[in-house]
């Protein structure tokens, strides 16, 4: 509807593509949640890939796996685990919010929902961090 | 008329007058080029409070204008349906003096053909609960609200669809031709800086309070002085009907509802530069004081905006030499006034009478061109304002 074939009218050459998702100026809570959802989605996707790669080390035998487990117990990797947990929580809860709103089931309390989900994610992630680091 | 041999008229000024004139001339088969230095309706037209006149405001002191207004009111409802808030208006009496004015007001409306009905205080407050307690009553008339941009834009859209060349961001820098005979205008396309010339059989100056400045560029004397007034928009829609004070016109005696806003107007003073009007703070205070007398609830509302708009006040020279085709506006044929062929000026008028003004001006233009072409704008329903931006292929 908005791109004329001959003149290209409507297609704004100044559009910045994906970079437009992350311009901080003038952004409100909803815009940050949007950007965060994309980042966490990419992050979780990256994790999934890594996860499969790591699992595939099983094929190289017990030695390779044991090496990995030793690495995985280091504080740096555990910290990444907490970040992963937070990312999963944020992405999941945000996704729930988007589903409710996106089908017009909930139309009010936009910002309240975002604040609530971030708080829940933070609490659970903190609890999770305690357990993760406690396991070592 | 063959499009190639049809005469070409250049209209300088993209306000309501220019737009309605472009539409009228285009319908008569004349080639129209309209140039406006900034955006359409960026001058006085865009800034008014949106009152869609019934003419009642003029019934007592200017019955000729009143008759014009009610006639144009009816025509606009027909040719621009869906472009108005049509909740009628009230002339509200607040005190005994207002009730005395009523004795002149009601018969004057009837004489002008303006439908008027007297409502008692309780009846009026049932329609408008925001009116003050204990008012003696109000006169109901067919006032309304128009969208100051979008109504004229319908004229521009229809003109465009009928072949007119509408060029905003195009500024006149001078005229072409020899002394005593103007043959066109010199313009600069502001975005690119590109200059060019546009030929014209007649140049019509429809630049409102800037008519004097444009006239100087054309070598003619147009004595128009800006007479601005302050308007104040309050947040929140506090009434549906236009509320006027039932007295001889004064400052701040009208509240016009528009979308989610209530607009209080207006005042009057004389300025020199139409581009530098200012917003006198005491006028803003006066608007608030008077407006809250009609609608006390406005006292608790926030000011959304306070701005000035300039009426074009036609000077004395104009009064004697310009042909007063109506009390509300004047048309100057500079061949007669200044000995310069090919230039005509139209100035004055009300937003409500834009079509009627254009008809009379177009009649003058057409007569000067030696043509027979009747006006058809009173029966032609206008395109929606969104049509102005339709791609040429789809128009």
């Amino acid at each position: 509807m908005s791109t004329h074939p001959d003149t290209g009218r409507g297609a704004d050459p100044r559009r910045r593509g994906i970079a437009g998702w992350f311009d901080p100026r003038g952004r409100r809570l909803g815009g940050w949640a949007f950007a965060l959802n994309r980042l966490s989605g990419l992050g979780v996707l990256l994790y999934l890939y890594l996860h499969l790669v790591i699992l595939s080390t099983l094929a190289s035998g017990a030695g390779a796996w044991n090496d990995f487990v030793a690495l995985a117990s280091s504080p740096v990797v555990l910290a990444f685990d907490v970040v992963l947990l937070a990312g999963l929580l944020l992405h999941g809860l945000n996704g729930l919010r988007v589903t409710l709103m996106g089908f017009g089931l909930v139309t009010g309390h936009r910002n309240a929902m975002i604040v609530a989900l971030v708080l829940i994610a933070a609490l659970v992630a903190l609890g999770g961090a305690a357990r993760i680091f406690g396991m070592v | 008329m063959d499009a190639r041999t049809a005469p070409q008229v250049v209209i300088v000024g993209g306000g309501g007058t220019g737009g309605a004139l472009a539409h009228d001339l285009a319908l008569r088969g004349i080639r129209v080029v309209l140039v406006e230095r900034h955006g359409l309706t960026s001058g006085t037209t865009g800034r008014h409070h949106g009152l869609f006149h019934s003419g009642a405001r003029y019934a007592v002191n200017d019955p000729v204008s009143a008759v014009e207004c009610i006639r144009e009111n009816r025509i606009l409802r027909r040719i621009a349906p869906g472009s108005f808030e049509l909740n009628d208006g009230l002339f509200v009496a607040l005190d005994d003096e207002d009730m005395a004015y009523r004795e002149r007001f009601l018969p004057a409306c009837e004489a002008a053909g303006i439908p008027v009905r007297w409502l008692t205080g309780p009846e009026a407050r049932r329609c408008e609960p925001g009116l003050p307690d204990g008012i003696p009553g109000a006169a109901q008339v067919p006032d309304g609200t128009m969208d100051a941009l979008r109504l004229p834009l319908r004229f521009f859209a229809t003109a465009l669809a009928n072949g007119a060349d509408i060029r905003p961001w195009t500024e006149v820098t001078g005229v072409t031709g020899s002394a005593g005979c103007v043959t066109g205008v010199r313009v600069v396309d502001r975005p690119t800086g590109r200059t060019s010339e546009i030929g014209a059989d007649i140049v019509v100056i429809a630049a409102g309070p800037w008519a004097g400045i444009v006239g100087r560029l054309a070598g003619v004397d147009v004595s128009v002085r800006p007479s601005p007034g302050v308007l104040v928009a309050m947040r929140g829609r506090a009434c549906n009907m236009v509320l006027n004070r039932l007295h001889a016109s004064g400052d701040g005696d009208i509240v016009v509802p528009q979308r989610g806003l209530s607009i209080i107007g207006t005042s009057s003073w004389l300025a020199d530069d139409p581009d530098d009007l200012g917003v006198p703070e005491d006028h803003v205070a006066r608007m608030l004081a008077e407006g809250t007398r009609l609608l006390p609830a406005l006292r608790d509302r926030e000011i959304r905006a306070a701005w000035s708009a300039a009426r074009p006040l036609i000077g004395d020279r104009g009064a004697s030499s310009g042909r007063a085709l109506s009390r509300t506006f004047k048309c100057f044929d500079h061949a007669v006034d200044d000995g310069v062929e090919g230039v005509v000026t139209i100035a004055g008028g009300k937003a409500t009478t834009l079509r009627g003004m254009a008809e009379t001006a177009a009649d003058v233009v057409v007569r000067k061109l030696g043509l027979e072409a009747p006006c058809r704008t009173a029966e032609t329903v206008l395109l929606p304002h969104t049509a102005f931006h339709r791609p040429a292929e789809a128009a």
């Binding site: - | 961001w169 975005p191 590109r194 339709r390």
Partner: protein, 280 residues
């Protein structure tokens, strides 16, 4: 980057602010070709500084811009008409935020120089003037009536002889929502929050327009389903037109619409008009 100053203003010692306005290059004299391309492709024009008087608490960004145009640089292009947030023509970005210049007071903006840029996601005509043609094409296609019959003043009644109360729609076609929408930023084909909100208004209150047609227009990959609920549109709307909510209502309406159509088809099939639906 230059800052233009009026010596008389300086001499008067009045309070001033500096506006840093993005400009587009002008083609030289009769050429203009280079200017066109530069404008279209957003090649960074210069940023001009204008020192404007700011003594009054009421002075708005639009007042400042037109003052600069009158007193400092007549070539500055800025669009305006109503001066009271009803026409929607003066949208700009101040310090990165999309606003209507006519109701944004200098006094309410943070200290220091004020950056003024054109709105995003719409082609640029000149300086701060964007091309609203694409936006209007969408509005034209949807055909939302300008006048509505709901949300008039509560408690009021039509005067004798008046059929029903009417008022103008909230949406003033300003394009601020288009400027802030992250999907608009990355995808020119997206119908956008303004047009979608207009379609919702047609469905919610058809008047003489056709709600089915509005549904059909927005039921697509680039329509109501393309929105990802950043809700920046509703946050920025100066008129309370609630575009984000409109899109969500559209989706719910579209779902119901689709269910209805699907069930109607099933019912037709079950009534034996076609093949048997399955073995009993």
């Amino acid at each position: 980057m230059t800052t233009t100053v009026d010596p008389a203003v300086r001499a008067a010692g009045a309070a001033t602010r500096v506006l840093r306005v993005t400009r587009t290059p002008r083609g030289a004299g009769g050429d203009g070709g280079g200017g066109d391309l530069a404008r279209q492709h957003g090649r960074r024009g210069r940023s001009d500084g204008f020192e404007v008087p700011a003594g009054s608490a009421r002075t708005t960004v639009l007042d400042a811009l037109t003052w600069a145009r009158t007193h400092l640089d007549p070539t500055l292009d800025v669009r305006h008409a109503c001066y009271h947030a009803s026409c929607g023509t003066c949208g700009v970005r101040t310090d990165g935020r999309a606003v209507l210049a006519c109701v944004t007071r200098l006094a309410d903006l943070p200290e220091g120089d004020i950056t003024v840029e054109p709105l995003r996601n719409q082609a640029l005509i000149s300086d701060l003037v964007v091309d609203i043609e694409a936006l209007y094409e969408g509005f034209d296609a949807v055909g939302m009536p300008l006048v509505r019959e709901s949300r008039t003043v509560p408690g009021s009644r039509p005067a004798p002889g008046v059929e029903g109360l009417t008022r103008f729609e909230d949406c003033i076609e300003c394009g601020l929502c288009v400027s802030v929408c992250p999907i608009e930023a990355s995808d020119a084909a997206y119908e956008g929050p303004a047009v979608l909100a207009a379609a919702w208004r047609v469905v919610e209150e058809p008047r003489h327009a056709d709600p089915e047609r509005a549904f059909a227009l927005v039921d697509g990959d680039q329509g109501a389903w393309r929105c990802h609920l950043a809700t920046e549109c509703t946050e920025v709307c100066p008129s309370g037109a609630l575009p984000a909510e409109g899109i969500m209502h559209l989706r719910r309406g579209l779902l119901r619409h689709r269910f209805r159509v699907a069930f109607a088809r099933l019912r037709v099939g079950a009534n034996g008009a076609g093949e048997p639906g399955g073995t009993p």
